[in-house]
C-alpha cells in the first residue's frame, strides 16, 4: 500500500461503516454538510487519496443529494451531501480534473449544478431530450419518448497559423464504439484533442430503478460487454452488502476467477490489435486465435463466451465442474507458453518497438495529477490496484502481486502499456491456477433475502481497465431507489487527450488502443 490517506485524517464526524464483506474493500458512509464536503475534498486532493466518482440522486420524498466516492488507505469513503430542494453544491472540478465531466453528467441526469464550475456544457444530453428533463428525478418515469434534435456542441477552438480541425466520429472507421474526437492539428501534429462522448447513453441508471434488485445483475452485465464480469461482480457485492447477504467462500473465489478470465481475454485481444495497428498483422492472427480458444473455454465452463450472467446475487450461477477445471489448468499452461513466445517476438521486433516506444506518453506526474486509474496508471508508475491495495478474498490468500512500472523509471508510453498487459496476463494466469488449486469446496450460491429496511451497498472491484464502482440504495420492497455505476474510463478519458498531444494523427489509433477506454460503460 503506497497511499497515505487514512480515513481518520479527514474532517469527518463519525462515518458509518457499511457491512463488511471479505471479498471487497471496506466502505464508509457519511452524510456531510457543504463545509465538510469542501474540506474532505481538499484533504483528499492534498493527500494521496483519489476521487473515484460523483453522482446525484433524489429520494422518494423528493429530497436531492449529491455523493462523492473517495479511495482512501482504509477503503472507500462515500460522502453524501443532502441538498433538500436546493440544486447547487460546491464544485470539485477545481481539485479533481475528472470531476468536470462527472459533474456535467450529474447536471444532465439530476439537474444538480456545481457552483463555480467553469465548464457547464451538457455532456450526456445531446439535445435529444429537453434541457429540463432529468431522468433521475422522480417525477420522470424514465420511459418518456422524445424526438431527436441533435444539437451543436461548442468544442474548444485552437487558433493560429495553419491550425485545422479533424473531426472523427461518432461512427468510427473500424469496428469500435461510438464517440466523437475533434483534433486540432498543424500538419500532422496534434495540438489538442477533445472527445465528446455520450452517444451510447441508454438510460442504464434509470433502468435499474425499474428492475427488481435481484434481476439487476443482468442489467449490470450489459453495461459494457468487455467488462461484464466486473460490473456484475460490483453490482452483486453492492446488493449483497445492502441486503446483508453473505456469499459462500467458494463463490467468492470463483468470482475472482471469472474476473481474471475477463482480464486475460481483453489483454489478449488488445495485444493482437496493438500489433495490427502498428502494421504487424501476425500479432493479430496469433492473439485472436488464442483469445478465441479462451472464449470457447469460457463457454464450456460457464455457458457464455463473455461470461454474461455468470455472477448473480448470492453467488455464481453455475459451479465449475472438475473436467472444466482440468481443462482450464491445461489451458493456462498453454496460453502462458504461447504468450511468452509472442512477447519475445514483440520485444525483438524493431519496427513494432519503434512505433510503441515514446508514443502517447503519459508522464507519471501527469497521471497522478489527472487521477488516472487502472492499467493506464500502473503503466505510468502510479501504483494502484484494488487487488493488492486492499487484498480482498481471494487475492489475499493467493498472494496477488501488482504489475506495473516502478515510479522512478516509468515510461508511460504505448510500450509501457503493452509490457504491462503482458505482465498482467502472466500474473492473472498464475492467479487462476492458484484459485483452481486452493478454492474451498461447497455451495456456490445462497438466496439473498429481500424485504429488509432501506439500505446502502457498495461494490468496488478491479476490472481489467481499472476500478469499477457500483453504489446503490435499496427500498424495502426489493427494488432499487438508486444505482450508480462508475466505469474507470471516466477518469482515464481526459488522460488520453493529454497523451496524444504532440503525436501525429496517424498514431492516434495505436495510442487509443493502448488505453482502450470504454464508451458504453462511460455513457451508460
Amino acid at each position: 500500500m503506497n497511499q497515505r490517506m487514512p480515513l481518520d485524517a479527514l474532517p469527518l464526524p463519525g462515518p458509518a461503516r457499511l457491512a463488511d464483506c471479505a471479498d471487497a474493500p471496506a466502505v464508509f458512509f457519511a452524510d456531510v454538510d457543504a463545509n465538510a464536503w469542501r474540506r474532505i475534498a481538499g484533504a483528499v486532493a492534498a493527500g494521496a487519496g483519489r476521487l473515484v466518482a460523483i453522482w446525484g440522486a433524489q429520494d422518494d420524498a423528493g429530497a436531492l443529494a449529491v455523493s462523492a466516492a473517495y479511495a482512501l488507505d482504509d477503503g472507500l469513503l462515500w460522502a453524501r451531501l443532502p441538498l433538500g430542494d436546493a440544486v447547487g453544491y460546491p464544485d470539485l472540478s477545481a481539485l479533481f480534473p475528472p470531476a468536470v465531466r462527472m459533474q456535467r453528467a450529474v447536471r444532465d441526469l439530476c439537474g444538480l449544478q456545481a457552483d463555480g464550475a467553469t465548464d457547464v456544457r451538457p455532456w450526456l444530453n445531446h439535445g435529444n431530450w429537453p434541457a429540463d428533463y432529468f431522468a433521475l428525478r422522480k417525477p420522470a418515469t424514465g420511459t418518456e419518448r422524445f424526438a431527436s434534435h441533435e444539437a451543436d456542441y461548442a468544442f474548444t477552438r485552437v487558433a493560429g497559423d495553419g491550425v485545422h480541425e479533424v473531426a472523427v466520429g461518432p461512427i468510427h472507421a473500424g469496428i469500435i464504439e461510438p464517440g466523437h474526437f475533434r483534433f486540432s492539428v498543424v500538419g500532422e501534429k496534434v495540438l489538442r484533442l477533445e472527445a465528446r462522448l455520450g452517444y451510447a447513453h441508454r438510460g442504464v441508471e434509470r433502468l435499474f430503478e425499474r428492475t427488481p434488485a435481484l434481476a439487476g445483475h443482468r442489467v449490470a452485465a450489459r453495461i459494457a460487454g468487455d467488462s461484464s464480469v466486473a460490473f456484475a461482480y460490483a453490482y452483486c457485492v453492492a446488493l449483497e452488502r445492502a441486503l446483508g447477504t453473505t456469499v459462500p467462500p467458494c463463490a467468492q473465489w470463483l468470482r475472482a476467477l471469472l474476473l481474471e478470465r475477463e482480464r486475460v481475454a481483453n489483454h489478449l485481444g488488445d495485444l493482437g490489435a496493438l500489433g495490427n495497428d502498428a502494421g504487424f498483422a501476425f500479432g493479430l492472427a496469433q492473439f485472436s486465435r488464442i483469445k478465441e480458444d479462451w472464449l470457447r473455454e469460457n463457454e464450456r465452463a460457464f455457458g457464455h463466451r463473455y461470461l454474461f450472467d455468470a455472477i448473480a446475487p448470492g453467488g455464481i450461477a453455475r459451479d465449475l465442474d472438475r473436467d472444466c477445471a482440468d481443462a482450464m489448468r491445461a489451458q493456462c499452461d498453454r496460453v502462458g507458453r504461447d504468450v511468452r513466445s509472442l512477447r519475445r517476438i514483440y520485444d525483438d521486433h524493431a519496427g513494432l518497438q519503434d512505433r510503441f516506444a515514446k508514443t502517447g506518453v503519459l508522464a507519471p506526474s501527469m497521471a497522478a495529477r489527472l487521477g488516472v486509474c487502472g492499467l493506464a496508471a500502473r503503466a505510468s508508475g502510479v501504483a494502484m490496484d484494488l487487488r493488492t491495495d486492499y487484498r480482498p478474498t481471494p487475492y489475499r490468500e493467493i498472494g496477488a502481486r501488482r504489475s506495473g512500472e516502478a515510479h522512478g523509471e516509468a515510461r508511460g508510453d504505448v510500450a509501457a502499456r503493452v509490457a504491462l498487459r503482458f505482465d498482467e496476463i502472466d500474473e492473472s494466469l498464475r492467479q487462476i491456477r492458484a484459485i483452481l488449486a486452493d478454492a474451498p469446496q461447497g455451495d456456490v450460491a445462497v438466496q439473498p433475502g429481500i424485504g429488509r429496511a432501506p439500505s446502502r451497498g457498495v461494490g468496488w472491484v478491479e476490472g481489467w481497465r481499472g476500478d469499477v464502482l457500483v453504489a446503490l440504495e435499496t427500498r424495502a420492497d426489493g427494488t432499487l431507489a438508486r444505482c450508480h455505476c462508475h466505469d474507470p474510463s471516466w477518469r482515464n478519458w481526459p488522460a488520453l487527450e493529454v497523451a496524444i498531444i504532440g503525436n501525429i494523427v496517424a498514431d492516434f489509433p495505436l495510442i487509443n488502443k493502448s488505453f482502450n477506454l470504454c464508451y458504453a460503460g462511460h455513457d451508460l
Binding site: 435529444n128 469496428i175 447513453h201 492472427a285 486465435r289
Partner: protein, 172 residues
C-alpha cells in the same frame, strides 16, 4: 528475431478442432453464395458496422469473425471504413437517441441497393432498454431491416449465418 518468427509460424498450433455442424452448412453454402455475390455485384461483400449504442458485446463477436477460426475475409467479406463503400450495414445496439442522427446519415450515405442487418437482441427488439427515454429502437423503427440476428451477443457463427441470409435474400 526472424528465426523466432518463423519458428512461431511453423510451430503454431493451427485451429484443428472439427468444424461444428452448423459451420459445415454455411461453409459450403458460403462458397455458393460467394459465387452468387460475385455474379450479382461483380465484387466482394463490403460491410459497414455501426454501433448504435451497444454494450460492445456484439462488437467483440464481430471482431471475432476476423480471427483465423472464422476467417471472414476468406469468404470475400470485408469490413469497410465508410458507408459509401458498403453493400450492407451491420447495426448493433438498441438505437440510442444520441446515435439516431448518425445512423440515419450513414444509411443515406450508403449506395443502393443496400442491405441492413440488425445484430443482437438490442438491435432486434431493444432488449433490456426497450422502454428507455434514451433509446428510440429497435433498429427496424428507423431503417428497413432485412435480417435480424438474435443473441446476446450472437455468436460469430450466428453472425455469419445472418449476413449470408441477407445476401441470399437479394441474390434471389
Amino acid at each position: 528475431m526472424t528465426w523466432q518468427l518463423l519458428k512461431r509460424i511453423a510451430g503454431a498450433r493451427a485451429p484443428d478442432e472439427p468444424i461444428p455442424s452448423a459451420a459445415d452448412d454455411w461453409r459450403t453454402e458460403a462458397q455458393r453464395l460467394h459465387q452468387h455475390l460475385l455474379d450479382l455485384l461483380g465484387r466482394a461483400l463490403n460491410i459497414r458496422q455501426i454501433d448504435a449504442g451497444s454494450c460492445n458485446g456484439c462488437e467483440l463477436e464481430i471482431h471475432a469473425l476476423d480471427n483465423p477460426y472464422y476467417n471472414i475475409e476468406g469468404l470475400g467479406i470485408r469490413f469497410v471504413a465508410s458507408p459509401r463503400h458498403a453493400d450492407l450495414l451491420l447495426v448493433t445496439g438498441p438505437l440510442a437517441l444520441n446515435m439516431r442522427e448518425a445512423v440515419r446519415l450513414a444509411y443515406d450515405a450508403t449506395p443502393a441497393p443496400k442491405l441492413v442487418v440488425a445484430a443482437g437482441e438490442c438491435a432486434c427488439t431493444g432488449g433490456l432498454f426497450t422502454d428507455s427515454y434514451a433509446v428510440c429502437g429497435p433498429v427496424s423503427d428507423l431503417l428497413p431491416v432485412d435480417v435480424q440476428i438474435p443473441g446476446c451477443p450472437p455468436s460469430p457463427v450466428e453472425l455469419l449465418t445472418g449476413i449470408l441470409t441477407a445476401v441470399r435474400r437479394t441474390a434471389r
